[in-house]
């Protein structure tokens, strides 16, 4: 039996978090959330339009999910802070994923600005989940600034390249006591399983689910891979070795 994920003192039902962008419709998005069993879903505040005549995305998110607004579009700390406050004012609650992205080509985050925004928002009572490049010194600064979790990217957003930054993420998992949630770059269920096997607390996926031909089934596949990877991590799977090891060793007679 897996241990329960706790973020900011709150038990979280699933270690699979789902992003809600890029779906062909809100209906498909909703079905994907349900089929995966995701408990935490991220929503870009820029897509929430309280005055819209069109459907409101929030109405399609199951009521038992935690909506974590994200600051998509923020180019610096000041903008991220403003977006977070606006999200709370619009009824999105206290959970906020900070994305500060001053680079629209690679969509890589700005760690220094993210740390500053984290410090300000944590003091205001937000549960802050910062999206960052996996850097140990910065992760410590985020922890000290009051982050509830740290969300390093596995590979650049939308690339589906998997856990390209594996060694750096492993260091965060070993050194930082907060839940490490691998966000971005996870393109297939096997990538998600790999992240969980090295000890990630959860993974967040969006593009690979939303842009697949069958998002509802693919979301479920990811969720199962996350569960399998976590179980493997907790029960301690055998290490990978450089050479074969016979199950009947040649030197067994010496015992």
């Amino acid at each position: 039996m897996e241990t329960q994920l706790i973020v900011s003192g709150q038990p979280i039902r699933s270690r699979f978090f789902l992003g809600t962008g890029k779906f062909a419709s809100y209906k498909i998005m909703r079905e994907a959330i349900i089929s995966s069993g995701a408990h935490i879903v991220t929503v870009a505040l820029r897509r929430i339009d309280p005055q819209a005549k069109e459907e409101n995305i929030l109405e399609y998110i199951p009521k038992d999910c935690i909506v974590m607004a994200n600051t998509s579009g923020a180019r610096n700390a000041e903008e991220a802070i403003r977006v977070a406050r606006l999200a709370r004012a619009l009824g999105c609650g206290n959970w906020i994923k900070i994305e500060v992205i001053p680079d629209n080509k690679y969509l890589l985050p700005d760690n220094a600005q993210t740390i500053y925004a984290t410090e300000v928002l944590a003091k205001e009572g937000f549960i802050v989940m910062p999206y960052v490049n996996p850097d140990l010194a910065d992760a410590r600064r985020l922890r000290d600034a009051g982050a509830a979790s740290i969300m390093p990217l596995g590979a650049p957003i939308g690339t589906n390249k998997g856990i390209a930054l594996r060694e750096l993420i492993k260091i965060l998992i070993e050194e930082i006591e907060l839940p490490i949630v691998v966000d971005a770059g996870i393109g297939r269920p096997s990538h998600a399983a790999q992240a969980m096997e090295i000890g990630a607390a959860a993974v967040l996926v969006n593009t690979a689910v939303a842009t697949s031909d069958d998002p509802v089934s693919v979301a479920r596949a990811f969720s199962l891979a996350v569960e399998a990877g976590r179980l493997a991590y907790e029960c301690g799977i055998s290490p990978i070795r450089e050479s074969a090891q016979a199950s009947s060793p040649l030197t067994g007679f010496l015992r």
């Binding site: 962008g21 419709s25 505040l45 903008e79 001053p102 629209n104 939303a210 842009t211």
Partner: protein, 373 residues
């Protein structure tokens, strides 16, 4: 860092495009197709006549890149013409100074009526346009319009005469998020012929406008060439290079490219280099592969059928329910349009078309409160 994109234009002044294109072989196109990130030479290869032979694999790749970067989503917006007073005399434009048409500038009361009519369709992203007349539509007037429209729309962009850095900053402070400005043609000699008089005759001031807007902190910047004025392969190449240059030196902007095409069968101006549908399609897919993150827009100058088919190949934004007259949405004394529109479908029809293609129409992708106060 080079100081301005004008240096790049000079670099290509004497480049023999025709000779380059004639040397492209099918294996060159295949080599480019296999690459992850393209050089400027690779982009030229994809714009060659030879590359048309590989249009299907190019389109497949363009679709993968677009869906990966933007998802199954199409943004919808509407143009809103504030004024048709203009001091320029561009041969291709219905608002040209010498055209004996009724001139009009919306009063704020009229603007409110137009805004209410557009908002009824669900549109929340708007592009404000004026002719080039600082006397008739000064910056102060545009700021007033923006302040009024902020109450109704979540994202306001402008397509007006080029401004200084400080003027762009003033409009951003007023609530403007995006700039659209087309160079019309990147060919300096042709540009001088087409824009001999009026403030628009300054090629360089117009070329450097997107850079000034970026320096002022503009969030979205959309550029392009008016297709049909000159040989499209060179024009699309230089527009793409312009975007690439802006993306490199101003990485925090959301960059877009539009493909406005002068339709020979629509309106009175005959383009010297008309583009076929296949040319426009090749231009769009080549640009998408060269610039994976760029927004791509086509307007209601194109037919509904073509727009329908181009969704999925690279497009990320469509104008919908457009009127190109001043007062075109709600007023009885509307003017002549700036150009004839080919797709006269309502916003609702476009919305349904986007949904049928398996894409989500997005009406709002920003909130006023997210801007700097």
């Amino acid at each position: 860092m080079p100081k301005t994109f004008y240096d790049q234009i000079e670099r290509f002044e004497r480049f023999d495009f025709a000779a380059f294109f004639s040397r492209v072989k099918p294996e060159d196109v295949e080599r480019v197709l296999a690459k992850d990130s393209l050089s400027e030479t690779d982009f030229l290869v994809l714009l060659s006549e030879e590359a048309f032979g590989c249009l299907e694999p190019l389109a497949q790749k363009a679709k993968r890149i677009t869906v990966g970067n933007f998802g199954k989503v199409i943004q919808l917006y509407a143009p809103l013409y504030l004024s048709n007073y203009c001091e320029n005399d561009c041969a291709y434009c219905g608002f040209k100074h010498s055209n004996p048409i009724a001139r009009k500038r919306l009063s704020l009361t009229e603007l409110r009526q137009e805004a209410e009519e557009i908002a009824k369709s669900g549109i929340r992203q708007i592009l404000l346009l004026t002719g080039e007349s600082r006397a008739q539509s000064p910056l102060s007037y545009i700021k007033e319009c923006v302040s009024l429209l902020k109450q109704t729309f979540s994202m306001i962009s402008i397509e007006i005469y080029p401004l200084s850095v400080d003027e762009y900053a003033q409009l951003i402070a007023a609530g403007v998020c995006g700039l659209t400005i087309y160079q019309e043609t990147y060919d300096q000699r042709l540009y001088a012929q087409l824009h001999g008089q009026g403030p628009k005759s300054d090629y360089r001031f117009r070329l450097e406008a997107p850079q000034r807007a970026a320096q002022a902190g503009m969030r979205q910047i959309n550029i392009g060439a008016l297709l049909g004025l000159a040989e499209f392969r060179k024009e699309v190449f230089l527009a793409g290079l312009h975007a690439y240059w802006l993306e490199r030196y101003y990485p925090d902007i959301e960059l877009g490219i539009s493909f406005p095409r002068i339709q020979p069968q629509v309106g009175s101006f005959s383009p010297a280099y008309p583009l076929r549908d296949r040319d426009l399609t090749q231009a769009i897919v080549a640009t998408r592969i060269f610039l994976p993150r760029a927004g791509i827009t086509i307007s209601t100058r194109e037919t509904k059928e073509l727009r329908d088919n181009l969704i999925g190949l690279g497009l990320t934004r469509l104008s919908a329910g457009s009127r190109t007259q001043v007062g075109g949405y709600a007023l009885s004394d509307k003017t002549e349009g700036q150009f004839e529109i080919a797709d006269t479908s309502s916003v609702e029809t476009i919305r349904q078309m986007v949904c049928r293609k398996g894409y989500q129409p997005v009406f709002s992708d920003w909130q006023n409160g997210m801007n700097r106060a």
